[in-house]
């Protein structure tokens, strides 16, 4: 039934359409498990080969998405990232290995993806996605996979996709929980239909602040790759109109029906956003930077060390997460994570000198303002946090 065109011994993997395909003999073998699927077949594989995807962010989500899309034979894969691989990435960013630490992510990613499948073209865009370049970049690809790590870029990717008419295979993660959907499909909702207002800066912790299970982006990024493939094939039921919520800790998938908001400023019936805006401003980036603390209310690690040795009665409050204090802590400090501090004031004596610290000084500066608002008089922020303490006082404490 087939015209195998000289593929001795593998005739059954070569359906009728093979003679019309752009797939090479190597590709027919490589993708044979796809070609057997009636939903893909040679025609579908051809669509993947002629298809293209822009993966925004080559991190936890972008890694599995890029690996599976390259393996699947998506012909042109664009990657946007400006970062360098560091060893804290390797717990989840499976595109990279030990030898890549210190290298540009996109250089390492291109190498890995081309090794995985030399039939695909990997285009690297070594830049941040900005309001200036986003529309131009998005327009060059069929599908966008949003694997960024901050709210301002998520709104930017969303708006650029809606304005350019490109579907966005969206994924996002936090600790053990992930979200996935397809935004910007015809008549489908966009990210703004679900989240019209960005959260105040600092309220939703990033992976660096809140931690993340390493395998979680593997699951969510693979879902993004799956949705991308279906969008390119033009088949199956995508997540357009549904938000998938995954909880790895309870191993629970929840799906919520979502719909386009007719009043959405970007994809609604009378859109008011017709070009890209300033997303840092929209998300209030920088406004969470704590107001400066007066010199009289900061303390350096040497002074604190002396006070502790003298038994001056100073109370050290560590506002990091409990997991961080297990790695390294100042002896005798009480641990109250920043997000809990307003509810746990009873544990912080008002009559004593309080010194707040975190890893580097940012969270403790926020805590300082909260304690001052609550009426604390003698409260100081430790300059440089536990990192400075490790550097100058206890060099043997483990770093993270």
């Amino acid at each position: 039934m087939t015209d195998a065109q000289g593929t001795n011994g593998h005739r059954r993997f070569v359906p009728n359409h093979a003679r019309d395909t752009s797939l090479s003999q190597d590709e027919l073998f490589r993708y044979s498990r796809h070609l057997i699927l009636p939903e893909v077949g040679v025609r579908g594989q051809d669509k993947l080969k002629k298809g293209s995807v822009l993966i925004v962010g080559a991190g936890g989500l972008g890694s599995p998405a890029a690996l599976y899309l390259a393996a699947a034979g998506v012909g042109r894969i664009g990657l946007v990232d400006f970062d360098t691989v560091d060893s804290t990435n390797l717990q989840r960013q499976v595109l990279y290995g030990e030898k890549d630490v210190g290298r540009k992510k996109l250089v390492a990613a291109k190498e890995r993806l081309e090794d995985l499948n030399p039939n695909v073209t990997v285009e690297t865009h070594d830049t941040a996605l900005t309001s200036q370049n986003a529309l131009d970049l998005v327009a060059q690809y069929d599908v966008v996979a949003d694997g960024t790590d901050n709210f301002q870029t998520r709104y930017l990717v969303n708006d650029a996709c809606v304005l350019a008419g490109k579907p966005n295979a969206y994924g996002s993660i936090y600790r053990f929980e992930g979200q996935a959907s397809v935004f910007g499909a015809p008549n489908g909702p966009c990210y703004r239909c679900l989240y019209a207002t960005p959260p105040p800066p600092g309220l939703v912790p990033s992976c660096a602040e809140g931690g993340v299970l390493g395998v979680l982006p593997g699951i969510i990024g693979s879902i993004q790759a799956t949705e991308t493939i279906k969008l390119l094939l033009g088949g199956g039921d995508t997540l357009a109109g549904r938000l998938l919520l995954f909880d790895a800790w309870s191993m629970d998938f929840t799906t919520v029906q979502v719909q386009r908001d007719p009043n959405c400023p970007v994809c609604g019936d009378a859109p008011t956003i017709k070009e890209l805006i300033d997303y840092d401003e929209f998300c209030g980036v920088g406004s969470d930077k704590p107001a400066p603390i007066p010199d009289t209310h900061v303390i350096d690690v040497k002074t604190l060390s002396t006070k502790l040795q003298n038994g001056d009665g100073v109370v050290v409050v560590d506002v990091r997460e409990p997991g961080e204090t297990e790695i390294a802590a100042i002896d005798g400090a009480i641990n109250i994570p920043l997000q809990e501090i307003r509810g746990r004031l009873a544990e912080i004596p008002r009559a004593k000198e309080i010194v707040l610290h975190c890893k580097g000084g940012f969270r403790s500066a926020q805590a300082w303002h909260r304690l001052r608002e609550a009426g604390y008089e003698d409260v100081k922020n430790l300059l440089g946090g536990i990192l400075a303490w490790q550097k100058e006082i206890e060099p043997k404490l483990p770093r993270y």
Binding site: P199, V204, S206, G210
Partner: protein, 86 residues
């Protein structure tokens, strides 16, 4: 009437529970349920404005719903805060 509330990610962490029941007046809306939740957890910053106004995804019986929609006895309400990690 009684409704079930499911809380996700930072809302769950702020409230210290993933599931609870709320007692609401008979003609309550989804927005009233959020208001009742806020009254029960006054320290939860994530339930305060502006989050409660467009910053949280509200679902009623697994369907995205607006705050002015009425709720009924036994309904399941869910609050999904945005997450941004990648």
């Amino acid at each position: 009437m009684r409704v079930i509330v499911r809380l996700f990610s930072i809302v769950r962490e702020s409230c210290g529970t993933e599931r609870l029941e709320l007692e609401l007046k008979p003609d309550a809306t989804l927005g009233d349920a959020v208001e009742a939740l806020r009254a029960r957890f006054p320290e939860a910053e994530v339930l305060s404005t502006p989050m409660a106004e467009g910053g949280l995804l509200l679902a009623l019986n697994r369907r995205h719903a607006r705050p002015d929609e009425p709720v009924a006895e036994g309904d399941e309400i869910a609050l999904f805060p945005p997450v941004s990690g990648g």
